[in-house]
Amino acid sequence: MIEMLGLPAASSFADDIDMVFSVIFWIVFFWFLLAEGVFFYLIFRFRKKEGVRAQYITGELKSEKRWITIPHNLILVFDVIIVIAAVKVWYTVKQDLPDAPDKQIVRIVAQQWAWTFVHPGPDGQLDTPDDIAKINELHVQVDRLHHFQLESKDVVHSFSVPVFRLKQDAIPGRVITGWFTPTKTGEYDIQCTEICGVGHALMPARIFIETADQHAAWVASNSSVSVASATVR
């Protein structure tokens, strides 16, 4: 449904989150229509009539109380449905950390008011001389598992990639690990979604989701080590 509103789903768990969103939306929409229908029906049914005096109803009779208790219990049932769906997705996205032999690890450092993305160089390892640090540019490969290590240099920020349906706070002093698997190529927005100071609105970034060949070419052309070796050749 969110895709129909114009925001693509570009991660492996985006559809799951959209499903929870849709479940909540349709349940609330159903109850909204029903409640408004009953409301307007009662207004019409018991409208002013000549010779009929208005009654004061205390709501203590069983036949009256069930107008509250039945919807109340039904809403509790629907709440349980929402909680089950949400917990399942929460576990998948936040509690579980899937692994794969070819996973890519990237470091994301938030600060007032910029993102630093540290990508592994040609060796595929972080914290080696060929790492590629980019300001406000994250390059990832489609259909490849990525782990991210999220840090903050100063205050609380929030790393949000709307097309991934991913949002994770960055807390100073902590390294928070998360994951995503991009499923669509393209260039999309990254936002900070935690008010982080006067420049909060001025720290947008972009994520570039590339095919394997495109990503390999980007790594080769941006790693200082590979550039240096290319120059030597």
Binding site: W113, V198, L202, M203
Partner: protein, 230 residues
């Protein structure tokens, strides 16, 4: 609750008063160079800068923001242009610069950049407190001989060479700048590249502290008098 509100009100009133005084001083200082409308525009734009640089442009080490009050207009303008173009403030190790890059993007036109630079230049200079210890000014004076060609014997700077005045600048900012210049983190604009070589002559942090200790003995008033654009 009322007491807290009252205190907040006093703080805000004091802040407004200080800003008004700075605006008045800047208006008088810039009367010969800019119109009242430009000064008003500069003051309006500068309000965003107060978050880090302070109402009086005194700077704030905790925010990694140097004192900028009274810096030459040409220098402030040049740095804003470097930030705006991404020639400065785009290195992952330049935390302070990374804060300035997005701020510079809020200045949409050359006229706005000029207005805020003129406003900052017209602000009364604010003296900075010393924060560094262990510098040897005598040894620093020897090391400073290489700096004289561009920054002048009294640290007044030289507009023709694009060299800013350094006398009167905060010692922590001078150290941070020398470190960034030496490592190449400061930026990619020509003067940063030139300064990388110059800062490279200072072999270690102690040498930087020594030369800064000497710079701190130079007096901004003398420097201002000797500055070519004053």
């Amino acid at each position: 609750m009322l007491l807290a509100r009252s205190r907040r009100s006093v703080v805000l009133s004091t802040r407004s008063l200080v800003f008004s005084l700075v605006w008045l001083a800047a208006s008088v200082g810039s009367a010969s160079r800019a119109s009242a409308a430009d000064t008003d525009r500069g003051a309006e734009l500068y309000e965003l800068c107060t978050q880090c640089h302070g109402v009086a442009g005194e700077g704030n080490q905790a925010a990694l923001a140097p004192g900028i009050a009274g810096l030459p207009e040409w220098y402030v303008l040049a740095q804003l242009q470097h930030f705006k173009k991404g020639e400065r403030g785009m290195h992952p190790e330049d935390t302070g610069g990374l804060r300035m890059y997005p701020m510079s993007q809020t200045l949409k036109t050359p006229e706005d950049m000029q207005a805020v630079a003129a406003f900052v230049a017209a602000m009364p200079k604010v003296s900075s407190e010393r924060t560094l210890e262990g510098g040897d000014a005598t040894r620093g004076a020897q090391l400073y001989t290489i700096c004289v060609a561009c920054h002048g014997p009294d640290g007044a700077g030289n507009e023709a060479l694009g060299s800013p005045p350094i006398a009167g600048q905060s010692d922590w900012y001078l150290l941070s700048s020398l470190q960034k210049l030496k490592s190449g983190h400061r930026g990619t604009y020509p003067n940063a590249v030139v300064m990388r070589g110059m800062a490279g002559t200072l072999t270690d942090e102690q040498a930087m502290k020594d030369v800064i200790a000497h710079i701190m003995t130079l007096h901004p008033t003398n420097a201002a008098a000797a500055a070519p654009n004053q």
